[in-house]
Symmetry: D2
Subunit: 161 residues, 4 copies
Amino acid sequence: MIKKTDPSLVTLEPEFIAAIVDIFENKVVFNRTLGLKALATSATEVTATIHMRPELVGHYAYNRVHGGVISASLDTIGGHAVMAAMGARHIDEPIAKRLERFNKLGTIDLRIDYLRPAIGEIFTMRAQVLRLGSRVASTRMEFLAADGTLLSTGAAAYIVS
Amino acid sequence: MIKKTDPSLVTLEPEFIAAIVDIFENKVVFNRTLGLKALATSATEVTATIHMRPELVGHYAYNRVHGGVISASLDTIGGHAVMAAMGARHIDEPIAKRLERFNKLGTIDLRIDYLRPAIGEIFTMRAQVLRLGSRVASTRMEFLAADGTLLSTGAAAYIVS
Amino acid sequence: MIKKTDPSLVTLEPEFIAAIVDIFENKVVFNRTLGLKALATSATEVTATIHMRPELVGHYAYNRVHGGVISASLDTIGGHAVMAAMGARHIDEPIAKRLERFNKLGTIDLRIDYLRPAIGEIFTMRAQVLRLGSRVASTRMEFLAADGTLLSTGAAAYIVS
Amino acid sequence: MIKKTDPSLVTLEPEFIAAIVDIFENKVVFNRTLGLKALATSATEVTATIHMRPELVGHYAYNRVHGGVISASLDTIGGHAVMAAMGARHIDEPIAKRLERFNKLGTIDLRIDYLRPAIGEIFTMRAQVLRLGSRVASTRMEFLAADGTLLSTGAAAYIVS
């Protein structure tokens, strides 16, 4: 039987966090195109930020962030949360082995609800893993204005191994 | 009572199509970041294409397109299909007035199913409006490999006016 | 301009609550088939309960609640939350007029995530309105075991007027 | 390596079809509560029907089918399509072994788009498996009026084994 560790009881090693933040910010190239920066990464919640830039505009009349920036950001931060949770679940494995799990991580599907127009200079986002199974992980994500107003929500399922 | 025209019986004017393609390809700046190009735009179906570029990579190990590129592309092509269908529905209005409707178009929500990894040089996408109401439009979208393999599907709802 | 009242500052009248609970429990006949009972109804959150019965079984091998019972319950409790929020938003209107709004309420779309099998004697559910616009309302819903374990989550959009 | 058979080249045995139709119509008790009847079951598409009954009413003012009936029906017919496709994929296995796969089938998540009010005496539904993987299956479903009008669409992901 696979030994399962409760993620909320685990403190992830700084090396592991640094490695998955590097994947999130740099190795996933499109995240660099978006300009995503990790804020805090733990086994139970991850947060990140994105700065408005002209390339991200959706509606030219309002200088609004493109909905696709939001869907892309929430998809990818959900995956980041899954990586963090898997890092905790398999804390007994060497870091390198846990990082290999990223190669088998894939989004099954995604839902985004656009609640309010995303207009501003900077936005934050956060993701929580609602369930981490042996084959599927489910996450809930939020995209927020600088003042904390909820702009969009997301839900996604990921294949894990 | 608003006069409703069956979109399938309407041929959109080349000027109207050119104008909404310009919005799709240029004015929605993030679509330019993605590199979306319209292929065919009619009142009942729209198609577009995207070329693989390094900035769009999701998984560095496989040179796979980022899921967020797909969600962004399908969100925006769904909106383009809604603009085309509204252009047909309100064919009696001047073009400028119909184009103003874009200012009130917004995605309510979006679902993307990622079926197969998007690896390749060029991809196509298409969108159909399943229902165009007076307040809400619903669309179905597909993201396809060069050989026609279905890679991702999408469904979205848009607020219209 | 329509006067908007912040729902969190409004105490709904017992008569209004009784009327929308009667719609929820009785007039929406399928809710009676499901056996839904309202627990608490306020302008900002609604809760309800459902008892396991043989007719609701999905998987005979496990005596598990059918996923469709969950999707139906979360769809309908989301609508109930929207009715409560609209009752608060339009608190200056007579109750009868606010109840008429139910006739124009419709679900646009729904997403359900099934996290864990629903096995037990009694379940609770809750719904919150994330945004109540003049044309669209968005909600978030949860389906919980008796011990509070999160079994399923939902998100929905509703057309309102 | 698991031998994979192209479902479109497989004719399912009448005994296998009868067994999964029995699960669909009878053993999944809530389907009996709904009154679902299978119409045609093949490896590539399944269809079913449902008759309007007072217990299924959602909106009493319009005698409209409850949205939850539609979400439940589309969830379950999607699962039925997955069972049929798995029956074809594993055609070399004995029927009893293939039927055991039903015990591990579960819906991961579901999206329903409600396009038009479901008012009528009888409705049909159909489901197709868009992708059958070794761990996850994705389906697309439709809920139709007697005259073929598209009333609702659905998409779902299922865990398989």
